[in-house]
Amino acid sequence: MIRFDGAGKRHPDGTIAVEGLDLTVPAGRTTVLVGPSGCGKTTILRMVNRMVEPTSGRVLLDGTDVAQLEAAKLRRGIGYVIQQAGLFPHRKVLDNIATVPYLLGWDRKRARTRAMEMLELVGLAPETGKRYPYQLSGGQQQRVGVARALAADPPLLLMDEPFSAVDPVVRAGLQEELLRLQSELNKTVLFVTHDIEEAVRLGDQIVVLREHGRIGQVADPATLLNAPADEQVSAFLGRDRGLRGLALRPAAGIPLVPHAEPFEGWTLTVDEHGRPSGWQRAAASETVRQVAVFQPGVDTLRTALDSAVLSPARAAVAVDGDGRVLGLAPRAAVLDALDAAGPQAAALTDEAAWEAAEAAGEPAGIPADRVPDPGQEPGQDPGSAPDPDSDPAPDPAPSGSGAGHGR
């Protein structure tokens, strides 16, 4: 667990990077610091491993002030991943990964065996170990960077915009990989990004920062999207935060209709494996080849809605794990699911905020901002949830939110 206790950083020239920060980063979970550039998020990250020394306050690592620990030793116990991977160009991949084990004085064989395991853990082929960093793609380099950070099995991982420099497709893969790793390893992760999408995807706890490292809100993703603390946080989340919130809720329990009969004049054609191959209009010889699908219980409501929106027949296509069609979910049914998701949504949200919304007279399960109203000013939360930030150390693990955010 990391605790920032009034930690601040004032540069010698008098500019303030971070002003008295109070924050708790819970153990075994992913905390994401998100905010515009220049909000001090990297400075906050670097206070933990003493690459930046706070000029006021303290940073406590499991109760010990990091200033009392020897910097190099402290750092060997903390994994660190940066934007451009920062691999050593003169060392082969395997030796890059084994950096910290070597520094800790492990013998060569043990360090290399460990590096091999790490290579596999991050999904790279064993022969990659013999290459030099320049021979790898950006995404592969970043995987090596993660493997290097994990090699000595540190309980804490600091990640400074690790996926910002790769293209969106590779980034999505790396994010997926990190979620998988984290579900296996349960490290304490402190992750910095400017991308709210990434924050919502990866974070168990999200810290929205303003200038000088001032906290806008600390909340789990669902609470953040449903109940932004104020207008500034809401503006930072963007106009489609309602839609993004759907990405946190599983598409489950949507009633399906059989796909054998035409739906609104369109017939879903399937191949010999039962997988969707296109939409065909009965009357005209019109066809649509691309079929957007969702997998109930696995994909999110956002994917289901997307499938429904893209379908010419106004029905989302539900498939099983092998891609075989299960049935159609008419748009209306998908939209009903958005509203009826009450119990599921509640399980994914900070319950205190949820109850507060109910107490304030909201109909149960349908907070006012659930369906975004384009006419409504962002952040006009009709007096419902109390400021979740009013508690200086918000419970990072609200009961029920551990179930996974419908990933």
């Binding site: 690459m51 903390i78 940066i82 934007q83 920062g86 050593f88 160009p89």
Partner: protein, 222 residues
């Protein structure tokens, strides 16, 4: 030189042992100073990287040294080191080598990309250990590039040492000029060129062995 052929092969045949001796002498007085220069440039370069304020004054001093004509320096040194001693020629050549190698060392040590430097720090390298384990290996391509320039210029300058009595293959030029006999001059030119070529090839090989990861040619100006 009327009637005198450009190359008398018999003279060369008769003087093989003499030529070999001059070549060896030349290799020693030109290349040992480069190694001395390297041995000085590495610690000075590391110091300049760790304490950047040192670099500008040091670089200025060696730039001035580099600007001094070699013959003048040889002559100035004679009262202290004696005529026809190796030191008279090797001391200035070592200074020239250092003048080339100090900036390339510092450039090389500084060429480590910022993310690499930060990653090294974040993984737990102390400043000195980082210099040795991360920055120094990264500087190898720069060092080799600097060594190529320093070695070739040293090989060329060493010939001038013949004028103060210690110049290896430089004798051949004086000899041939005084006797209007072109054969030693041609032999000297060919041997100097050969020495330079072989030295360069050895350095390139060293670079391939020491820095197989450096794919691009590193160019050093001077």
């Amino acid at each position: 030189m009327d009637g005198e052929p450009l190359v008398r092969w018999r003279w060369i045949g008769d003087h093989l042992g003499y030529l070999w001796g001059l070549l060896r002498d030349h290799a020693v007085i030109s290349l040992v100073p480069v190694l001395i220069g390297l041995a000085l440039a590495l610690p000075l370069g590391l110091l300049c990287t760790r304490f950047p304020r040192l670099y500008q004054p040091l670089a200025a001093v060696f730039n001035v040294v580099y600007a001094l004509p070699s013959l003048a320096v040889f002559v100035v040194l004679i009262p202290y080191t004696g005529l026809a001693t190796q030191a008279t020629v090797m001391i200035p050549l070592a200074c020239y080598a250092l003048a080339v190698l100090l900036p390339t060392t510092v450039d090389g040590l500084r060429a480590v990309p910022e993310p690499v430097r930060q990653a090294a720090t974040a993984l737990g390298y102390g400043p000195w250990r980082r210099l040795a384990a991360v920055e120094l290996p990264s500087a190898v391509p720069y060092l080799v590039a600097g060594l190529r320039v320093a070695a070739v210029s040293s090989i060329s300058l060493a010939s001038v040492g013949a004028l103060v009595g210690r110049g290896g293959l430089g004798y051949l030029f004086i000899d041939g000029f005084q006797r209007t006999f072109p054969t030693p001059i041609v032999a000297g030119i060919v041997l100097v060129a050969l020495l330079a070529l072989v030295t360069d090839a050895v350095l390139l090989l060293a670079r391939r062995l020491l820095a197989p990861w450096a794919v691009r040619e590193t160019v050093v100006g001077r």
